[in-house]
């Protein structure tokens, strides 16, 4: 693309005009933290909000990609909806690279112009990945995509944060996948809106189903069902108001994505998602979404602060010198924080301190 076509204004226009190349390029901008991205988001923001964002997570081997593929096919064939898929895989902590192989299970979708499939690596910074994930969804949303399926492997903080930004979270498990529930990152089951027993034709499926039904009951019975998406160090959003119509009952769906079972129709994943949507719309969707945006604001602030603080070249040397001199980490950090906050205050113009 020529450099003129690469300006924020041009790309925003192109995106809203339905240009897939622009969509693709803007997601890269979001991923890379391109300085032009915030301007683009502002230009397209009024078109953001129509897409329903469904997170699909679970341990490796649960069949998530196959399930996502089937859900997408159904959304296309039965409802002719524009579908976007974001497939997130972990980056290697050693090399920083990643093998993104989810597309292999979504072949038919590549040929369908009504589906957009994008693979994303978690990269280094946890908050950064969640931010990029939300940004990518916003771009797809503004483009006109109506259903976004976000697939992550449910074992990392970053992935947990991405799930926290979804309207409906589907947690997929399958029999024989190691220790089942125990293997899942603590908290993932807490954020599930829909639980799925995939590969339900395999031995052990009934047992897993029973375990998950039990887990769902336990969660529903807890007096403070800690907010819709729980609380954590990274995505701490203030607790939502308790709703008037009662808490959402997490359904457990039996499916066999490889055989196309449990995808649509009665007692299916899509039905559960639709029900959850109806529930949220009845109990204050805007408020729920705002809480998630708050988490996004926090992430961006954290990332910005982090980069501003540690981009100062003298800081590392000072800290190392202080450590060498025998100060504890706490002492050093406390002094640093005080200095930074004083500095912030000192820079604040008078009008803003009202």
């Amino acid at each position: 693309m020529s450099s003129a076509a690469n300006s924020p204004t041009a790309l925003a226009e192109s995106l809203l005009g339905g240009n897939r190349r622009a969509l693709s390029r803007l997601i890269s901008w979001a991923e890379n933290g391109h300085p032009g991205f915030p301007a683009v988001l502002e230009a397209i923001y009024e078109r953001v909000g129509r897409a329903w964002r469904v997170g699909v997570t679970g341990p490796p081997g649960a069949g998530k990609s196959t399930l996502v593929n089937e859900l997408a096919l159904q959304l296309r064939r039965a409802h002719d909806l524009q579908v976007g898929i974001l497939a997130v895989d972990p980056s290697s902590p050693f090399t920083g690279g990643a093998l993104l192989g989810d597309r292999i299970r979504m072949e038919e979708l590549t040929a369908d112009p009504g589906v957009y499939v994008r693979s994303m690596a978690s990269r280094k910074s946890h908050g950064g990945m969640a931010r990029a994930g939300v940004d990518a969804c916003d771009v797809m949303d503004a483009f006109g995509i109506e259903r976004i399926l976000i697939e992550t492997v449910g074992v990392g903080q970053a992935e947990y944060d991405v799930m926290g930004a979804c309207d409906t979270v589907v947690v997929v498990m399958c029999p024989g996948a190691g220790d089942g529930i125990q293997a899942m990152k603590a908290g993932i089951l807490e954020v599930a809106d829909v639980l799925v027993v995939n590969k339900s034709d395999l031995p052990g499926a009934d047992r897993l189903y029973a375990d998950l039904v039990e887990a769902a009951h336990v969660r529903a019975a807890r007096p403070m069902a800690a907010g819709h998406h729980g609380a954590s160090a990274r995505s701490a959003s203030p607790e939502p108001e308790p709703d008037a119509s009662g808490a959402w009952q997490v359904p457990v769906i039996q499916a066999s994505a490889g055989r196309g079972e449990g995808i649509a129709g009665e007692a299916s994943v899509l039905e559960a998602v639709a029900n959850h949507r109806a529930y949220l719309e009845a109990t204050g969707l805007d408020n729920a979404r705002r809480q998630k945006r708050f988490a996004q604001v926090r992430r961006i602030v954290d990332e910005e602060l982090d980069s501003r603080v540690w981009s100062r070249s003298d800081l590392e040397d000072r800290v190392l010198a202080a450590l060498k001199a025998g100060s504890t980490s706490y002492d050093i950090a406390r002094d640093l924080v005080v200095e930074l906050i004083d500095g912030l205050v000192a820079q604040t113009p008078q009008e803003e301190t009202a």
Binding site: G61, S65, L99, G101, D102, I104, R105, E107, G176, L202, P203, G258
Partner: protein, 551 residues
Amino acid sequence: MSQAHTSESARQLWEAALEKSRTRDANFTTLSGTELKPMYAMEDARLDYDADLGYPGQFPFTRGVHPSMYRGRLWTMRQFAGFGTAAQTNERFRFLLANGQTGLSTAFDFPTLMGYDSDDDISLGEVGQVGVAISSLRDMETLFEGIPLGEVSTSMTINGPAPVMLAFYIACGERQGVDPAQLRGTIQNDILKEYQAQHAWLVPPEPALRMITDVMSYCATNVPQFNTISISGYHIREAGSTAAQELAFTLANGMDYVRRGIAAGMDVDDFAPRLSFFFDSHLDFFEEIAKFRAARRIWARKMRDVFGAKNPKSWMLRFHTQTAGVSLTAQQPENNIVRTAIEALAAVLGGTQSLHTNSMDETLSLPTEKAVKIALRTQQVIAEEHEVAHVADPLAGSFFVEAETNRLEADAEAYFKEIDSRGGVVACIDAGYIQREIHRSAVIYQRAIERGTKKVVGVNVYNEGEGKPEIDIHRNDKGVEAEQRERLSTLRSERDSAAATRELEAIRAACDNGDNLLERFVAAAHADCTLGEICGVLRDAFGKYKEPKIL
């Protein structure tokens, strides 16, 4: 074997001397990463002669499947061939037979291997490139023009659409006036390893396995001299597995076929004698010989003691071997003649029934006539000039070889246990376990070569820099695709379309009601249905296979 040990002090002296002596800067492992000892002695090779070795032609067949081995009959020299049109391959077949080849082996092009006609859109650019294009019975007849199917044994390397190709062969024989009961040969038809390694599949595992049992039962009655499956390790090995994995996964697949044959209602002795095998012969000379021996022993034990087969023919593991394609280099291609010769020798010392030797130019293109002749002569030199064919299982009793045979058997057993614990072969395929094991070994091997711990002459040692190889290479004829289009067009206009359609409908019905599909395929072949048309019906009925995520 006597139980006397070497005296302790002599061993200690040797060990001390070894410590003091220089060690070359080299890697003393097999390709598979197995550490080799500097020397093997009696204590390394524990075995019970009668239980573990026996005699050639006797359980457990470690020493060979025939009493006389090569004194009775040399292995079949069976060079894999195929390219372009049926007429062009027919010419190559006749060239090879005239030069002393004793059995035919057919290579098909990718459209054929994947069940598409030469004129399908998806076949564009691929027709006749890596093998011969066969879209119809007419093509099959041209392929075997002047070659009496009642007298020559033919191997066909095809898997997904194998039952259809076998039907074409049977129908072709019938048109030549040969009774199917007279047909001899092998159809590879080993779909499990396709999902694991070669990836030339058609439909998902369950319907594919049903078609295989259909082939087994049809042939048991009508084509009893034909080997219905060539249970293959070659492709698994070429995809990057270790020798132990090749052995284990192949035999695990074999056992799965046996289980399914029995589940389909056949007596194991009805079909087991016609199961055959196909192994790689790779660079590690002694490990390969041990692998072949271990394979025979394991299979015999499983067939008799686990599956309860009564016919000794069911216990015998007969196999074809191909020398390792991946061991060849594009750099200094003449060196490949040497590699192939050594690998061929290992196969002979390992007791193979049939052998294909690679041509030196195969990393560059399909073999030229000159190169394939040298490859054939390699086998003939081994057979005629060296005395290796005079004695059955000549390496028996070698401490090293027996130790390796034992080790490989144990490694394979460990894998069988693991596969069972994970729900069997098909479950392992669905979960990607076998594919990942193979990929992991492939990456380890690649790293070893790139780091230089595994030496490859011409690549990381004794290189001669960039430069075009100075040999002629085979170039495919550009007119093949056009010719095939015309042939198919003519066929479709000349045949009885109504009859062809009826046969395709009958196939669809059999897919649904469980009737024997091979029977329907033979009828469809005679009605001039094309390969693509028949496979199209199968894809519609059973769905297309989609590979799992491995990376």
